[in-house]
Amino acid sequence: MNTDLITSLRQDWLGNIRNDLLAGLVVALALIPEAIAFSIIAGVDPKVGLYASFSIAVITAIVGGRPGMISAATAATAVLMVTLVKVHGLEYLLAATVLAGLLQIGAGLLKLGNAMRFVSRSVITGFVNALAILIFMAQLPELTGVTTLTYVMVAGGLAIIYLFPYITTAIPSPLVTIVVLTGLTMYFGLDVRAVQDMGDLPDTLPIFLLPDIPLNLETLKIIFPVSAGVAAVGLLESLMTATIVDDLTDTESDKNRECVGQGIANTCTGFIGGMAGCAMIGQSMINVKSGGRGRLSTFAAGVFLLFLIVVLGDWVKQIPMPALVAIMIMVSIGTFSWSSIKDIRDHPRSSSIVMLSTVAVTVMTHNLAYGVLTGVLLSGIFFAGKIAQVFRVTSKLSKDGRARTYTVEGQLFFASSPDFTAAFDFHEVLERVVIDVTHAHIWDISSIAALDMVVVKFRREGAEVEIIGMNEASETIVDKLAIHDKPDAIERLMGH
């Protein structure tokens, strides 16, 4: 313990009390419909999502790495659980939640948070767009085969959400939507589905319980794929959201601590009967917009949420589904990156392809992890393709016409090897060939093999081959460029 730690703890928790509490309340009000909606996506009782939102918010507030970020039950993780719940039931979901948490703790300890650097901007845009689409698609069951009244109510709800802030920004407009639509439904006895038709709400504080499942390999086989997906998607969304909050508030966060924090939150949540969750982009933006900055805001959001549910449970039950659908459509619209549609024309085609593939794969598989994996692989390939162009081979014939010097410059690796080989003229009859690679960077085994091949081919044609500058060129082939023990290594690499 030292004073700096205490100072930063105090700053994180008590630096912004009034705004944090207010923002926490706004977020709690917005979390209730979301937690219910995401429980419905996953196919469990609303209380599973509500308990999860409470516990994840409170625990990440304490152990997470990004103050002011809101974590709770989310759409991204809920869509991964559907089949597990349908086939094996809730108890398996709880076990999968605990396992996902443990995997996340492991990832945090292994410092996998640093791997986020490989997730490019285009992949992140694809991720949020896919997420928005998933949230919207999850509302479709509530919007198909229903009465006109439902559409009217959803439209009315959206109108209140977007127009009420023109009257005042002191009251959360989603709350007004809920109150007005619930009031109308109860007063006129309107025939629409309400939250109580979707399953049980919590009536007590959460209690500790062990998932009721056989602890054997069979169970592990069932839950592991789900856990791994949830862990990966949860970390991805959490780290992306952390970056967004970092940018919005112009402050730093500890990404690896965030991984461990998410893991602890999910592990504990599984034991109190909640489903796995992660950070929420939309809610975190609402929190920041409402003035929330410290850990207290997230903590307050969780506590208010549980308080409201336990105390006002009888009223929450009456909330008509169209009100929730309207709020979820708002979240979906707010999450979607609309500028990315315009950017498709302006951005390089490769980055648009990455973005669109991320969206397409996610929407097809309902699994953001696959989408992101596709995006990351594609951006890697595109990048390799671009860098492979950064190389050239020039040559000069000696005066007597019997010897030629090839000068190779630029990046030699697997993607540029074919072009490299093609740059030599093996039909020219030469006695002597000099290949100067002093100004080339040899990055991998493929390029060495290509170089060997060139040498062999020239020899077969009867030429004597000499390679110059191999040592300098192959300095890059080691996995880790040992910059630290050779301070001028970068200059040497860039310079030659």
Partner: protein, 281 residues
């Protein structure tokens, strides 16, 4: 040439910090670097509408950046004014070599980068934010005192001409360092010195005599006193009652864990004495 760092924040203590700096600098012939740190001020907002619309993220980003930019510009202007005031006050007081430095960030981090070539850091007992509560130390002070590796002069509310100073001597390493520093110091040369020890441990007494001899050798007029009682109380009473103008002592002798539980002697002392305190690590 030696360099003194004066930390100003625009509070009532800033002027006093400059005066203390001027006193040391003119006696010693050193240069003064005046530093003002702009901390982060969260711009206030009150949009509780809780909705996110089209392009919510970039819109929110723009709004927040604009708010921050406004408050930053304001803080920057104010910071420059504070530094200009300090600079002219120092020049008026006869300091010839004054530089200023305006930085964004955390006080402790920025100071640790700046203090490298300095040999004294001067800070006010209280900062801007803590001015309302008397005897409540600025939270920054303790952080600075703990992190800073150079001697620190903690300025009182108003500068008084220094005629007599007192060394609170506990025989510890930092107290001996203080004595050695004063022995060679041009700042204290010729002033009346009082050496005060609380308690009657024989080894402390021996060390005390050694210290007194050392200072006399350097030409100081030294008065030695061994008092009994609770150390902080005695030191404080003596300094307040006997026209002591500067108190010199070692800082934070105990481990941080202990300080955390029982509070630190140093903090208590800086708090209850109304004179400037020169702290040695």
């Amino acid at each position: 040439m030696s360099k003194i760092i004066a930390l100003v924040d625009g509070s009532i203590y800033s002027q006093s910090v400059c005066d203390h700096a001027a006193w040391v600098a003119t006696r010693k012939g050193s240069s003064v670097e005046v530093i003002h740190i702009l901390g982060r001020n969260e711009a206030a907002q009150s949009d509780l509408s809780g909705n996110i619309g089209l392009g919510a993220r970039s819109k929110l980003m723009d709004e927040l950046a604009e708010l921050d930019a406004q408050s930053a510009r304001l803080a920057q202007k104010r910071g420059r004014a504070i530094l200009e005031d300090a600079e002219s006050r120092l020049i008026d007081a006869g300091v010839t070599d004054v530089t200023t430095r305006l930085r964004n960030g955390d006080l402790v981090e920025e100071l640790s980068a700046a203090e490298v070539d300095a040999d004294l850091v001067i800070i006010g007992k209280r900062g801007e934010a803590a001015d309302f509560a008397k005897q409540h130390l600025g939270s920054n002070l303790e952080r600075v005192v703990r992190s800073c590796k150079k001697p620190i002069l903690v300025a009182s509310r108003e500068f008084q001409p220094v005629k007599q100073f007192m060394i609170a001597f506990d025989g510890g390493k930092s107290a001996i360092k203080a004595v050695e520093h004063i022995k060679q110091s041009k700042v204290f040369a010729g002033l009346k010195c009082k050496l005060l020890t609380v308690g009657d441990k024989p080894e402390t007494k021996r060390a005390l005599e050694g210290a007194a001899a050392l200072l006399r050798e350097a030409g100081y007029e030294v008065e030695v006193e061994i008092a009994q009682g609770q150390a902080e109380q005695v030191i404080c009473d003596t300094s307040n009652d006997e026209d002591i103008d500067v108190l010199v002592m070692g800082a934070y002798g105990h481990s941080r864990i202990r300080n955390l539980i029982i509070g630190s002697t140093t903090t208590a002392m800086v708090q209850s004495c109304h004179v400037p305190v020169l702290l040695f690590r």
